[in-house]
């Protein structure tokens, strides 16, 4: 099955986070084992996941959950032609989730700041910002705070904005 450009971008983002060179030990729910002992990043990630309609992943400390937000047409960046190219902006919600132990007295914001900063570091390395030529630019637009109402978890939600072009009549075909 051919993958649409937006799906290819989503898979690149997931793969980038999953391949972070973690120092801590963690097993991703999709079967990805992270490095042990010598990585550049120190957050003990539990892996990154794109959930199913009814998700099957297990909520854990240092889990990354990637969901897709709205897509918006950008007329100013579209180009005429035959077929014309259509520019799109899509937002990926990257939730960096902390579930702090009741025995840990570290301020929750300290944990959130460190984890989110490392995720940004990982995202903004190659193939950022074009995702191997699939997009023409990407931005970390906002970082939102959240705290579950039952106190079960907290974290930051990164809003990663990706701008890309496809043929107007073919979302499977990338345009420069």
């Amino acid at each position: 099955m051919a993958l649409s450009i937006i799906e290819q971008i989503a898979q690149k983002i997931l793969a980038t986070v999953q391949s972070m060179d973690w120092e801590g030990v963690g097993i991703g729910v999709v079967g990805v084992s992270f490095g042990v002992g010598s990585g550049a990043f120190t957050s003990p990630t539990s892996g990154a996941v794109r959930p199913e309609q009814i998700a099957t992943f297990q909520p854990k400390d240092y889990r990354i959950v990637i969901t897709q937000g709205d897509m918006e047409r950008i007329d100013a960046m579209s180009c005429p032609g035959n077929p014309p190219s259509q520019a799109w902006m899509v937002v990926f919600n990257i939730a960096c989730i902390i579930r702090q132990s009741v025995d840990d007295v570290t301020p929750i914001d300290t944990l959130k700041n460190h984890f989110t900063s490392e995720v940004i570091q990982a995202l903004t390395t190659d193939p950022w910002p074009t995702w191997d030529g699939l997009a023409y630019n990407s931005y970390v637009r906002t970082i939102e705070q959240y705290q579950a109402s039952d106190g079960s978890n907290a974290g930051h939600m990164l809003k990663l904005e990706v701008h890309y072009r496809t043929d107007e009549n073919n979302p499977f075909s990338v345009r420069a």
Binding site: P51, Q53, I54, A55, T56, F57, Q58, P59, K60, D61, V65, T67, N93, A95, I97, R99, Q100, S101, V102, D103, D104, Y146, A148, S149, D150, G151, S152, N153, A154, G155, M157
Partner: protein, 116 residues
């Protein structure tokens, strides 16, 4: 025997009776170690895991004995890492690991925990 004593002793023999509604689960403590204990498991419809942007996950409520040998004591519960292995759907051959999300309530006899 006081009412307080009765509450503690009646839980394993009456409320958490395997011949009635209780089943065996495995509780994994965040600090290490596991305990095979009796629980009443409510298998609820999926609920919003709001931290991750409207992701929905299957939700469970378990009622267990508030006891350090036949259950888990309330001050042992660590919602930052405790996990439970249970049968998700009747007929499943293998148990599935779930995360203890929060303590919904507890008294002298039982603890009620929400899992996802």
């Amino acid at each position: 025997m006081t009412l307080r004593d009765n509450l503690r002793t009646d839980v394993p023999s009456i409320f958490l009776n395997s011949d009635e509604f209780a089943e065996t689960i495995t509780y994994f403590l965040a600090g290490g170690g596991r305990r095979s204990i009796k629980a009443i498991v409510d298998r609820n419809p999926p609920a919003i895991y709001d931290a991750a942007g409207d992701v929905v996950l299957p939700q469970f409520m378990i009622t267990i004995h508030n006891n350090c040998t036949t259950g888990i004591e309330a001050d042992e519960v660590n919602t930052g890492g405790d996990e439970v292995e249970l049968i998700v759907k009747d007929g499943d051959l293998k148990p599935t690991r779930k995360t203890v999300m929060h303590m919904a309530g507890h008294d002298l006899g039982v603890i009620e925990l929400a899992l996802m």
